[in-house]
Symmetry: C2
Subunit: 454 residues, 2 copies
């Protein structure tokens, strides 16, 4: 399709600049101070849809941050693709580790550095620009709907209700999401599964105020020590999770599946170099790809308590808190695991402390069948632009809303991510390759074409 190539070539600088504009809005859904930025970002997304050829676009209220909906209707006999994405981003902290401002995108070595560049503004925006390309070159072959939400990074607490109440509006034949990564530009891949998520917070309180560690140390429980012991109890010496019942529902992969996974390209030395460690650490009996793909995890995402400033303070603190999350695999249930975790931490607390445990958010694990019209269209599209059949892989991350989208709309989700694991998602210096962005815009129209033909 030379017309696409020509159109993209002529407009690629503008495409990129428009995406950079979006990255300049600090749309951090987790932090209430960014409420206005969130609304500004939703407005910008709506406007970009309209100016890119969508016939309709609207900001639709939820009980939290609004959803941006857009559509291009072609013909009722043509299939409909629902593109899901999110305009909110992770908090940028720790700020001192960024080489440039998280919301002041800079281009270096062909990559855009900014919070949200890969996750997910840079990726959902490929779909907006692919729409423009198809509309302007008169080559669109599907109906396209956009559902761009603003609460993915906080667990989409209001989207289930929104989708349930707007089933007709969102009705589609397939859901297409670019919010994940591929193995590499040389080894394109398609995610066929994502892990679920369970996210809790535990607050341990000893004394009702901070105490002098000399006067009271040794006689009153130290909540940091207690919390550390609680955390330490969660894994055994083989890094197997010890919480009773945690693995009960895990769908074990067959030896054949594991043998297939083992064929995916993996270079341990390169992996260690990329993350900057001398040695890896994980559950005994599983490879790195298995540990991040088919096995559930329990990670401490944050901890704080006592004096954390400069120098020394001899305090016996009153409180210690941890943020803890589990990645889940089929057939674990987020709700069940969340309850298991909350109950566990409460049950192991000694009587010298009190424990508050509450849920942040969760989401179910998700699997996409390889033998489906949607997967085949994605596979052929990637092959068209990358020159290789993509490898199906299980992604380690989570998009909590997936299982709900499938349940409510009754169709499968296709993950066609163009990021790389090394994009520093959720970390300082998040980046997204300009080549990845352009390749994505180039690949998406092929998906629509193959899906319409399939």
């Amino acid at each position: 399709m030379e017309v696409w190539k020509d159109y993209q070539e002529k407009n690629k600088d503008r495409f990129l600049n428009e995406m950079l504009e979006l990255l300049r809005i600090p749309s951090v859904s987790a932090k209430s101070e960014h409420k206005n930025d969130m609304l500004k970002c939703a407005e910008a997304v709506k406007n970009s849809l309209l100016s890119s050829g969508a016939q309709k676009a609207a900001i639709m209220a939820t009980d939290g941050f609004p959803v941006v909906y857009g559509e291009y209707f072609l013909d009722k006999n043509k299939p409909t693709v629902l593109v899901y994405g999110h305009y909110d981003v992770q908090p940028a902290e720790p700020l001192d580790l960024w080489h440039s401002g998280p919301f002041e995108p800079v281009i270096k070595d062909g990559k855009v550095y900014a919070r949200g560049s890969a996750d997910d503004k840079g990726q959902f925006y490929m779909h907006v620009k692919a729409l423009e390309m198809m509309v302007k070159t008169n080559t669109i072959e599907t109906n396209i709907k956009f559902l761009i939400e603003g609460e993915e990074e906080v667990g989409s607490p209001n989207l289930a209700k929104f989708v349930h109440e707007n089933k007709e509006l969102l009705k589609a034949d397939v859901i297409l999401i670019s919010d994940s990564s591929m193995l590499s530009m040389e080894n394109p891949s398609l995610d066929v599964g994502l892990r679920g998520l369970s996210y809790i917070e535990i607050e341990v309180t000893g004394a009702d105020h901070d105490l002098h560690s000399g006067t009271y140390g040794g006689a009153v429980a130290n909540p940091i020590t207690v919390l550390s012991k609680m955390i330490a109890s969660c894994h055994d010496e083989n890094n197997h999770i010890t919480i009773p019942g945690f693995y009960d529902d895990v769908l074990e992969s067959s030896p054949e599946e594991r043998a297939l996974m083992a064929k995916a390209p993996y270079d341990e030395e390169a992996y260690k170099k990329e993350v900057g460690v001398k040695n890896l650490m994980g559950e005994k009996g599983y490879t790195t790809n298995e540990r991040t793909g088919i096995r559930p995890t329990l990670e401490i995402n944050g901890i704080w308590g006592g004096y954390t400033g400069e120098g020394a303070k001899t305090v016996l603190p009153s409180k210690a808190t941890a943020k803890i999350s589990s990645r889940l695999v089929p057939n674990q249930s987020s709700q069940k695991i969340t309850k298991l975790l909350l109950d566990y931490f409460k049950s192991i607390a000694p009587s010298s402390v009190t424990v508050k445990a509450f849920e942040h958010h969760g989401g179910e694990p998700y699997l996409t069948p390889i033998h489906s019209k949607g997967y085949e269209a994605a596979s052929k599209a990637v092959q068209k632009t990358f020159g290789k059949i993509p490898v199906p892989v299980r992604g380690g991350g989570s998009i909590p809303i997936c299982s709900i989208l499938e349940k409510e709309l009754g169709v499968k989700i296709i993950f066609m991510g163009f990021g790389l694991d090394s994009d520093n998602l959720h970390s300082p210096n998040e980046k997204y390759g300009i080549e990845n962005f352009n390749k994505g815009i180039q690949t998406i129209p092929w998906f629509h074409k193959f899906f319409a033909e399939g």
Copy 2:
């Protein structure tokens, strides 16, 4: 001595107001942003000594914050008392737990609420005002020297050198310190021992940057989990410290000593209510007073790592850090225990992380003999103003410089503290009773009188 009573009665409001002025200076030695406040505070202390009758007072440089020296010379045939105190205070954090500004003293229910009110500005200032009282009423019977330092709360890193280089200047027959507490106003006590201190910081690093907990979780070490396991390993199920060699040098108290200690007034329900816990927690086989008096401890004073902000962030953090300190008892050596701790934390680290361990500061435990001219003078002075013979007790806190002062100057230290354990030392809402302040000013001249006569 009616003249003292009269003088104090006439001047007590001014005494209090002068003390409040000192509390308004945020002399936090641990935080470099308060450098100017520290110098301002030293200047104020010097001026207060001069205006209170000291013949000489000077700010003397050290490699850190300066020492304030002052003296009143009476007669070379009279004994000399060296008063030690400190004008620096602990950091005020966490600020949100203060009911009023930590450096804006307020008086409530007969108590002064401010950082440093009890530890140690309010206490050393009693000696300044006692000096004034004796000088103005022409009743002084000893030579008095003042050594008021500015680095006690950070472990007096430069005082040993200062004392060594100024041995002649500081020469005295006894050292008198008011920087500790008594059991209660009804049960006056004198500390005959303080615990030593060893304070370290441990930084655990996994990946060299924060990672997405979905993409990498399960395959790369989580430094918070590792640090928690390291901390959890320090105590067994009886809250006995498990670090090899930790108890080797502990001088066990005899059954007779423990029986004597058991006679000190102690109300467990009142103690639990005061700190706000349902149950106490400590080393098996020891009472609360023993746990805080004759047993060494290991406390986590602070911990932080990963995302500690609002909401949820699915990050696999790069670093986790803890501040850890041990209170030591005779005959443990601070240097030896510090090395033991640093080595221990390095030795137990798995190869998937790197550990940096460094020392903050330390100090040796200290014991005062009951049968000495100094102790007897203090005991008689307290009896004079409180109407009861004070109970000798072992304090849980530490004044790291004590063993060095004794070694360099060759004389014993008498602890005559007028604070209460419930004064919230090192905690939000530190307070000091006005009655305690006044009683202290009243008691101190009796010490000098009895010591001169003894």
